[in-house]
């Protein structure tokens, strides 16, 4: 079992060729505006006229809708149902047993569920169109310490290795008669023989790896060069400043309207 540990799909689209930082600003912009804007229909508007066109511009509609059905819809759907049934309110619409649906709970549930939908969608969109190492090398070039890039990239490599190691350990312990399915007590008892070997085994490798990267100048403070150049066009800069302006406007309008 070798799971691919990144959402990224390689396509040739305008969204893919944008600079990673621009896409990150776009994501943060969508999320912040949906939370800050005082207008009730903002999140719904942003889903319809922000997320959906962007999916088609990025040519990732098939992967996005897959992720939507698997992750985003269940999460925001359950959130919506829980909130509509259980948030308190004044104006009752109807009532079944202990469950009361009110106008307040309905409007709040719609807003919260759409915001979550929008937030997770925009992150998914970002991850579908941006390769993690591209993002990291761009951020490192802009001054993020190299250690952070090392941590993120090597974690993405270590997790699948460790998952397959975990599978091996589970299979090995089961074949020796370890009970992982019956009573609660047995399952708690199974935790130590599964977690122990996995964790101790992976910690042993740490020292060797530390020596290896130390020998390759990991802690050197000199400026490092990069093998790949990541494009940052003037369009990127215009988009970024435009988005920042929009974010500021929507946050300001919230405070302005709340004050009046």
């Amino acid at each position: 079992m070798h799971e691919r540990l990144s959402f990224y799909v390689k396509r040739d689209s305008p969204l893919h060729s944008l600079n990673p930082l621009t896409k990150l600003t776009l994501v943060l912009g969508l999320v912040l505006i949906s939370f800050a804007s005082p207008w009730y229909w903002t999140p719904q508007f942003l889903v319809l006229f922000g997320i959906i066109p962007l999916i088609f511009i990025g040519k990732v509609q098939r992967e996005y809708f897959g992720a939507m059905l698997r992750l985003i819809l269940p999460a925001s759907g359950i959130l919506f149902l829980m909130q509509v049934f259980f948030l308190p309110g004044e104006h009752e619409i109807f009532r079944i047993w202990v469950i009361t649906v009110t106008q307040e709970s309905l409007t709040n549930a719609v807003t919260n569920a759409t915001r979550i939908f929008l937030m997770v969608s925009s992150f998914t969109l970002f991850l579908l169109t941006t390769h993690p190492s591209e993002l990291m090398s761009d951020l490192t070039r802009r001054g993020l310490p190299g250690q952070f890039a090392y941590v993120i990239i090597s974690t993405l490599q270590i997790i699948p290795q460790m998952q397959s190691k975990a599978q091996t350990i589970i299979a090995a312990q089961r074949s020796r008669g370890l009970d992982t399915q019956s009573s609660f007590g047995k399952r708690v008892g199974a935790l130590v023989p599964l977690v122990g070997p996995l964790v101790l085994g992976s910690l042993v490798e740490v020292e060797e790896r530390a020596i290896a990267i130390e020998a390759r100048g990991f802690t050197s403070t000199r400026k490092k060069t990069s093998l790949y150049e990541i494009p940052d066009s003037s369009l990127d800069k215009v988009l970024r400043w435009g988005l920042i302006l929009l974010i500021v406007v929507s946050i300001a309008s919230r405070f302005f309207l709340a004050g009046s």
Partner: protein, 230 residues
């Protein structure tokens, strides 16, 4: 600058190499727990390991990056919870620095303090981002408390306070057991091996005092909770 120096002390090459492994431990052990269908998460063992061995700021960074990775690779909905993981690592680090990671009952206290912090930090996120009720199972408790006429903040906080301690205390104990399984030569290469040196000798009186303090803390927390509820 004493403060900057104490942050710098947390990070040597061993720390930077341990962090990715710790994040992977968080993720993979979290998934093993799902396979075993246990009613806890145990998804911060690695964070607590780093917090105890390398210091508070390294632990905090591990926690925060752990959520970023979780969001990048598994579920993009995990991003907004990063401050909770950040504080789990930070508090573990400070507890370990204060000597609360040296034998099992001290580790229980660490777990309890971490749980309290996690409950406090996750409350505003749950309330302002998700409107109080999230899609997790424990939200049924929140929903019940809301139906009894409580405010959203109180309901969310009480739920977190009921759920967190069991999870965080078992996480801390597991992390402690793992550290005890490592050789002293290996531990000595991390920035703060003195945090986890096991204590032996006459600690019985200390233990009774500590149990007394914990009971007092729990009573105090219950008192505060009852006051908020009424």
């Amino acid at each position: 600058m004493k403060f900057i120096d104490s942050i710098k002390k947390d990070f040597n090459t061993m720390t930077w190499v341990l962090i990715p492994v710790a994040i992977a431990i968080n993720v993979v052990v979290g998934q093993i727990v799902l396979v075993l269908k246990l009613p806890v998460y145990l998804d911060s063992i690695g964070t607590m390991l780093v917090g105890a061995l390398c210091g508070p700021w390294a632990g905090a960074l591990t926690g925060a990056l752990s959520n970023v990775i979780w969001g990048l690779a598994i579920d993009p909905g995990a991003f907004p919870w990063w401050p909770v993981a950040f504080f789990i690592g930070l508090v573990t680090g400070f507890c370990a620095k204060g000597g609360l990671f040296k034998n099992w009952w001290k580790v229980v206290i660490t777990g309890f303090l971490v749980a309290l912090t996690a409950a406090i930090v996750s409350t505003p996120i749950g309330v302002y981002l998700f409107g109080g009720i999230t899609a997790s199972g424990s939200s049924f408790i929140t929903a019940y408390l809301l139906q009894t006429g409580q405010g959203v903040v109180q309901a969310v906080f009480s739920t977190n306070f009921l759920v967190e301690p069991v999870d965080k205390i078992s996480t801390a104990l597991l992390a402690f057991a793992i550290i005890q399984g490592l050789s002293r030569r290996f531990l000595a290469r991390f920035p703060r091996p003195e945090n986890v040196e096991i204590e032996t000798g006459a600690t019985r009186t200390q233990m009774f005092i500590a149990i007394g303090i914990v009971i007092l803390l729990v009573l105090f927390a219950a008192f505060v909770l009852v006051n908020i509820l009424s």
